[in-house]
Amino acid sequence: MKSTTFNARKINQLLSSMSFAVSMLVFLGIASIIGTILKQNEPYENYIIKFGQFWFGYFEKIGLYDVYHSIWFLTILLFLVISTTLCISKNTPAILKDFLVFKDSLEEKSLLSFSHHLVIKNKKNVNVSKILNYLKQVKFKIKEKSKENGDILIVAKKGNYQRLGYILTHVGVVVICLGGLLDGNLTFKAQELLGYKKIETLDIPASKVPEVSRLSSDNTSFRANMTLVEGGSDNVAFVRMKDGYLVQDLPFKITLKDFRINHYSTGMPKSFESDLVISDPEFPQSIEKTISVNHPFTYKGIAIYQSDFQDGGTKLDIKLRSLFNSNAPQKIGGQIFEKVKLDKDQITYEFNDFRKFNILHLKEGEKEKPRNVGPSVTYKIRNNSGQAREYLSYQYAMEIDGRSFFITGMRETPQEEFKYLKVPADKKGSIDDFMLFKEALQNEALISAVAKKIANQSMNADKNDTVKESFENSVNKLMTLFAQGGFSSVSENLDRNIPPSEKEKAAQTYLKIIDIASVELYRNRFNFLGKELDQGRIKFIQDSLNAYSDMFFFGSPYYFELTNYEQKEASGLQLTKSPGQFWVYLGSLSLVLGIFSMIYLHERKFWLLIKAKGGVILALSSNRKNIDFESDYKKLTNDIRKIIQ
């Protein structure tokens, strides 16, 4: 029995020691770093990709994906709270006593034992009231006591709120932590552990989510999200958790009347605003309120914030242009979050996002301002085996290096950066010319005609027909090769047929022939026969060849052209109920006041003993002896000496 109390005291001593408290601070700091390095609360697939299936499981167990709500992190916090509380309870009685009491029982001997004391010998008839006045003037609180032997002891102190600062700061920290815990998800954690609640991981409508994954509307604290399409309304929100979610029932219904984004003249967003209607079954009158970023609305203790926005199912008109044959363009209608299956091609278009404004910085590093390049659509093309590529198409051509291009991004996994297909726009700002040129490249008859013409032009008349014919054949073969696979199939052919030593020279010749043939093809197709082409057209041909070549890596049989859209937006709201907020703010106030008084109030205790037999003893003490203390001591002793003499 005795040994347990001894141990308890030892543990108490350890927990309430400052070293323990400080190591908790350091521990908390280091633990916090982890969560900033690893992005928290991402979808679990991202972590699986990052760590692999093997490590993913272990890391999940130790709560690495939500460090700040993991058991071990909360345990550190708990220890910090316990240790701080013990510190407070250990030190408070002494501090309060010191605050209230004047230490007037000190004898001459103890004054002499102070590190800062001064003895003025043989001084009689000291003017006590003058000293008292002086002490009052320098803001001391004073108590005067006459002793039995006729000695007079003046006890003075100031800055003793400094010690209260200790209590204020530490109580502040504890209150903040407890307030934070109040807003944390501890209750849910306990319920989950006991099996009363379960995280829903299936993507099902909110109304179908079973009771076990629902939080009732009298839940005391939550932070939930809700997305409303314009015109839509709902009375549930979602709390994202781990790899799933919970449904939070609300005591009222929210309807989104309108969502607006205002823009600066540069195209940057200036404000996000949602017009909400809140219908409370308890009141017949509904409330209309507009919220925006930095201007939330609180109703029944639930604060409603504008948190983000997304597409609400914009309708799209799309023209699909065949890249690898000359079929006529195909018109389809789509909608964001919907799918369109093309049976003939065994592919499915999945439309994911539409953006009306895209602010891009096209010329990097230069002083040109970012600007709006117009609407874009993000979509996936999924093949029959389920594999998908992601695409990002802009509606309008963008100016890059003085030329106009239609830009489409493509990537195979979300981790990759987009690779861009740049298709040159024609003078009308359309893609038509490129498509015509592309068809010309794929037109065998036209290629043969061009090959023949080039052979005739470049060979002198005296060359015999077989040489000419073989050259014509080569041109024809080369262009067909290019038409079938772009520059990469040409270079594969080089690798196969030409010895390495001659490769470079051959490659140059090939490129030159492709250039000449393409220019001739262009003349042929666009009625410039026998005419010189201007620089703009030459550039267009080169850009077209590059785009054509890149098409083979594009992974889609169609070029996606957005022709029209009907935008529908959705507003992302965040709803929070946070009963701990008041306590956190109160704790913060206490903390700030405490730090102020601890650092800027200088505690001074001063004793002055006037002996009946003659002679004066002064002593000054403080709980912190630093340079300021030294200079205070000097000033005080000098001043008192002057008064006495």
């Binding site: 400052m18 201007h295 590093g365 601890m598 340079i627």
Partner: protein, 377 residues
């Protein structure tokens, strides 16, 4: 005779204090009268709150009073020269070369660089005269910096009424703020401790920031005024950001004095520097100031976050690193105050503290992504 002179100088300084208050109040009232329809109640409170704060600073430190008055007068003069037309900053001679926003900031840079050089020469040659010049150059740099920021504030409204905002919203602007606050803190202690020997160290970190400003201006061309994203459109920015930078500035000052302390302890420059006890005390005081303001800034940030993002604490990387900085200095202060620890350990710790602070200030923006992605490098 001497006491009489002393007394009369005391009354002049009191008159000066009153005039200073009238000057500030007059400015604030004029601003209120002219712009009250554009201000919400919080902005009005901040306006008069800053009158209080600036008077208090000016009353407790006379040099600050002079700088403030000059800054306001010259800035108002500069604004007059604009005549409400932005392009005048390239057409009016005085504006173009001296007191338009960008030139003023350039002059700030120039004077900070010169001060650094002079402080070092003054330190190594024990030449007090050079120290005096260096010190006044630092004041001049600060003067130019504040003029630059105030005029930039005005310029931002010339770009567009909806674009205008206080110039503490991106990295370029807050780096200027950092230079100014650090140098003010330094100048205060220079006067109080009556030694100009530490300028050589403090100006190093200020010049590092100057280097950044120049790189940002010339290499990245990121010195332009950008409109505010919706999350930043709040009166909270006016108090959260400056409070934070008083914190950063003080921590930097402490770290630079720590360098001096450590060198002095290693018998390098010892005879050139103030006594170690003075340095030690200064390290403590600036960390203490920094700690208070950093605490306030973090709390204000939390209140703002509650309003803008829906929660006072979201464990966003910037928030978390602010907490780490706070915990670090809290531990530092515990050891210093409660344990009475002194000496080189604390100085090293203050230096490490600067590294942590720098990471919280810059590293988070560079390496980690989160809600605070306003100043991306």
């Amino acid at each position: 005779m001497l006491t009489k002179l002393f007394k009369s100088s005391k009354t002049t300084s009191q008159t000066f204090n009153v005039l200073y208050l009238i000057f500030l109040l007059g400015g604030a009232l004029h601003a209120l009268k002219t712009f009250h329809s554009y201000m919400d109640i919080y902005e009005k409170v901040i306006l008069f709150g800053s009158v209080g704060f600036f008077s208090w600073l000016g009353w407790s430190w006379s040099h600050f009073k002079k700088i403030t008055i000059l800054v306001f007068i010259i800035s108002l003069f500069s604004i007059q020269l604009y005549k409400g037309v932005l392009i005048n900053n390239e057409q009016v001679f005085l504006l173009k070369y001296l007191i338009a926003s960008q030139p003023a900031i350039m002059w700030m840079n120039v004077f900070f660089v010169l001060s650094l050089l002079l402080y070092w020469i003054g330190l190594l040659t024990k030449n007090n005269f050079l120290d005096d010049i260096a010190s006044s150059f630092t004041s001049v740099a600060t003067l130019f910096g504040f003029i630059g920021l105030l005029v930039r504030w005005y310029e931002s409204y010339l770009i567009g009424l909806d674009v205008g905002h206080i110039p503490i919203s991106n990295l370029y602007e807050v780096f200027i703020l950092f230079c100014l606050i650090t140098s003010l803190l330094y100048l205060f202690y220079e006067e109080k401790l009556n030694t100009k020997k530490l300028g050589a160290f403090v100006l190093i970190i200020i010049n590092a920031a100057v280097g950044f400003i120049l790189w940002y201006t010339f290499d990245r061309q990121a010195d332009g005024v950008q409109p505010l994203v919706p999350a930043l459109q709040s009166y909270w920015m006016k108090i959260h950001v400056p409070a934070n930078f008083i914190g950063y500035g003080s921590f930097s000052l402490a770290a630079m004095v720590s360098v001096a302390y450590l060198l002095s302890g290693k018998k390098i420059l010892t005879s050139y520097l103030p006594k170690p006890a003075v340095l030690d005390d200064l390290i403590y005081k600036s960390i203490a100031i920094g700690f208070i303001f950093f605490t306030i800034a973090t709390i204000l940030g939390a209140i703002w976050a509650a309003e803008a993002w829906g929660g006072y604490w979201s464990w966003d990387p910037k928030e978390t690193w602010a907490l780490i900085v706070w915990l670090n200095y809290a531990a530092w202060l515990h050891y210093r105050i409660v344990k009475g620890l002194r000496g080189s350990i604390l100085a090293w710790w203050a230096l490490i503290g600067l590294i942590i602070t720098t990471f919280a200030f810059l590293g988070v923006n560079m390496f980690l992504s989160g809600l605070h992605s306003y100043g991306e490098l």
